[in-house]
Symmetry: C2
């Protein structure tokens, strides 16, 4: 049922260390009207993602920081409800970088129409959206994954990690990962087909756990976490291994710069490559992925799980829960009925 007001979540203050609910404020306004060439979207699903934590700091990065008092931004899927823009007509289902809000005004720039939506709309924020594309770009474009290699992924049950593992299995790889709860390990083993997993919170020795799940070493490490998990993976790399550096969620709430992994000398001896990447640099690979993944989902080869929070009023807590690893699969917020 459409909302009769536009509720919006704004950045109240920049977090020092861990994000808290105090860093957010909620405001209300009337449902906006489109100006010339604009359109208004009724937002149905929005995404909360780890990279947003970086945007809460006032630090130059590849995406500009959120501004205090401004509405936060997020990937959104919604329906056009009024339009003065020739490219988008009422009733169109669109996807774009919009706001943490019930209704968004857009010029149409950076907005995409979703055409054949055989899958739930929320999938376009996850397995068919940025997280899925990130998994694909990291494995294929950055790590140059080869059939039969040994792959380790951290934060394996997350939005990106769960796709990494499944694509690597499709490539016939040995796939191992870690996560932070036994529920997640069950999901990885029984539903996603991971070969070996461990709970990093219970591990008495990360290097020993790493050796257990990848007994022949690691050819490709898809790194989402950083810190000690990254260090243990680095130590366990095979010659000519590649590390696709996607995220370092372990340090996103740190106020001071943390040292890198010990033992970086091995990068030379083992001829390792560590490469950072941003999915939006690779539009061609992303398009390729969307076609391929849609087919894999149809064929049942890609399984997908979401954790869905209900309502804009729960967006901030869903974001904080996700940073704390409480989600299994992609964390989504449902803003309205599809």
């Amino acid at each position: 049922m459409p909302h009769n007001m536009n509720r919006q979540i704004r950045l109240a203050s920049r977090p020092t260390g861990w994000v808290t609910l105090d860093n957010f404020e909620t405001t209300e306004q009337a449902i906006p009207e489109p100006a010339d060439n604009e359109l208004v979207i009724r937002n149905i699903f929005m995404s909360v993602d780890p990279y947003m934590r970086g945007r809460m700091n006032d630090r130059k990065s590849y995406v500009p920081p959120f501004q205090i008092g401004e509405v936060l931004q997020a990937g959104v899927v919604g329906e056009v409800i009024s339009s003065n823009n020739d490219d988008f007509s009422e009733g169109a289902i669109v996807q774009g970088m919009l706001g943490w809000e019930n209704y968004s005004v857009s010029s149409g720039q950076g907005l995409y129409r979703l055409l054949n939506t055989n899958v739930p709309l929320s999938y376009y924020l996850g397995i068919l959206g940025m997280p899925g594309m990130t998994a694909w770009v990291g494995l294929t474009e950055i790590a140059k994954l080869q059939e039969g290699e040994s792959v380790f992924v951290s934060a394996a049950s997350g939005a990106v990690g769960s796709v990494v593992g499944q694509i690597a299995k499709i490539y016939g790889c040995h796939v191992a990962g870690c996560a932070g709860s036994d529920d997640k390990l069950e999901f990885l083993k029984n539903e996603l087909g991971f070969d070996a997993v461990f709970n990093y919170k219970n591990s008495l020795s990360l290097p020993a756990s790493m050796a257990e799940v990848c007994p022949n070493g690691i050819d490709v490490n898809f790194e989402n976490v950083g810190g000690e998990i990254f260090e243990a993976a680095l130590w366990h790399m095979r010659n000519f291994g590649r590390i696709a550096l996607c995220g370092m969620i372990a340090s996103y709430n740190d106020e001071t710069l943390q040292p890198g992994p010990r033992g970086m000398m091995s990068i030379i001896g083992k001829r390792l490559r560590i490469e950072g990447f941003i999915v939006t640099d690779h539009p061609k690979a992303c398009a390729e992925y969307t076609r391929q993944a849609t087919q894999w989902i149809d064929e049942g080869k890609l399984i997908y799980r979401e954790t869905i929070a209900e309502g804009i009023e729960n967006a901030a807590s869903a974001f904080i829960d996700m940073l704390n690893g409480k989600n299994v699969g992609k964390q989504i917020v449902r803003l309205d009925d599809a």
Copy 2:
């Protein structure tokens, strides 16, 4: 004048921390005779290189460790004085991985004849040998250096660094580097044509020094040193920069694993690539380099400086001095007249 005995330097004990003369012992034997298919070489020049420090530890690496009581190995240029091997006749000038000794016995495996030696024989251990090839492979194969980029090299006046800087200048790059004495800085600026240099021992702030010598950031960092210099270079990289990880001499004498640079998150945001390499993995590029470098030397485009120690009895101290940065250019030991 040929020696009448074969003096040999052996590993007496493994160093803990810094290498000392106590880690070496000298023995003497008669000049060896070749068995079937063997040849004997009178060694003229031998090389001491940073990587040898790693071989003194009992640790698995890309080259096996030196063994206690055994003659140490080194790159050597010498003359065949007796031969039962059809591939090498008496009087041939050869190069290979032989011993810290006046005379070496060889099966011929891994031994190369030097044919057109218009340059001093010692060059085949430096600018035309492994160090020169390392500079070339790191810049072209690993860092994919492009014309006009901004290059920073640490240990810039060393055997590898001095070639890195000159090749990058030939590529029309902005070239900066650091070294540990004012003499070395003079050499870099006035003889090798570096655009900007600093003495890391006098720097009050490595990040500030880095910003001064590379005002527009660094596209390619050729890393020989590691530690804080590496960290400062990492912080100063430009988007899509590449770090060719060649050596980390700052940590070669450490007994415990040192942490990596702080701020590795920037690898993601700036899409950096860090890649370790070993020159011997790239024989094709090495052959290409030898042709190219010989021409550049003829044309006066590549300048070369050596620090030459005299006599096998000074090999160990020359090695220790080199690890302490006392050499300018390639550290060589002359074992006999050419």
